[in-house]
Symmetry: C2
Subunit: 150 residues, 2 copies
DNA sequence: ATCCATTTCCGAAAAATATGCAGCACATGT
DNA sequence: ACATGTGCTGCATATTTTTCGGAAATGGAT
């Protein structure tokens, strides 16, 4: 992970379809050298995968929601984590410091989808209390990338 | 955006380096047809870009932080949004419902980097109050993808 | 400083992949 | 029935990736 690797990652982040020759020209290396570096970055796990950044609107996932979760005292925490990992709407789930125990980030098509989501969480007896926060607009939206569960 | 497009996007999400022939075999189309569909998906903006998913640890951004922000009454909100968009550590910034006005998601190398970050926010007179939440672990970590600011 | 071992790089050939296009099939609306 | 538009295929071509031998650079150790 030297300066050239960093630059290669920057370039791939912006456009992973750029050719090895293009990248080579930018970093001052031959295509084969760039190839070898990308191979190593992938093998070592710095690059986890090549993927696509999608438009939330056109994929029908317009509404961004954060849900703070306080687990029930008797909740099966492992089961909750597995549930979160498998849930198609849940983009992220973090165990966090502070008054709440978990923070879930999810995307839904519209706000009507939130209530069933919360109802399901409660019916599975994971949640004690929860607090839902909607994103109204996003000065820095972040990328939309599918979960890596292949 | 028919069922085949959806499947192509699923396949590309999991591995954007898969060849057109491979994808074609999975969806029952010739390579050229897949090529044309990918071209259209990109042109129409469904696919925003091809990119890479990185390992936070190996990129030195181990610590995930959420910061709730209440802007000062006299804060220049446009300036704040521009600042957030340009800030290298800020992965996301959302205007949200609830008691706080903004939610910022950022990654830092270690917790010592948080204080300077907050200090900078305050010195620019954006922030009234703020609350910082650290992610301790992430059952669903989400992808790490660089911001699209090329 | 010199030597050796290791790594990294390059260039050229070969393999794989993407691209562009003509022609065909199918559906839609007139 | 006809014309129009759209999407698909298969082929030819262009581009890109991959491989590999040998050269250059790097990094210790003496």
């Amino acid at each position: 992970m030297d300066a050239i690797d960093t630059k290669i990652i920057d370039l791939l982040s912006a456009d992973a379809k750029r050719s090895l020759a293009d990248i080579g020209a930018s970093v001052g290396l031959s295509p084969s050298s760039v190839n070898e570096r990308v191979r190593r970055l992938t093998a070592s796990g710095v690059i986890r995968r090549f993927t696509v950044d999608l438009d939330p609107v056109q994929t029908g996932m317009q509404t961004l929601v954060f849900v703070w979760i306080a687990l029930r005292d008797d909740a099966d925490e492992d089961a909750f984590r597995a549930y979160a990992a498998a849930h198609p709407l849940i983009l992220e789930c973090h165990h966090v410091t502070g008054a709440w125990s978990y923070l879930i980030k999810l995307r839904v098509g519209d706000t009507t989808r939130i209530e069933p989501f919360l109802a399901d969480l409660k019916s599975r007896r994971f949640v004690g209390r929860s607090e839902t926060v909607l994103a109204l607009s996003s000065p820095v939206p972040g990328a939309l990338v599918r979960k890596d569960d292949a």
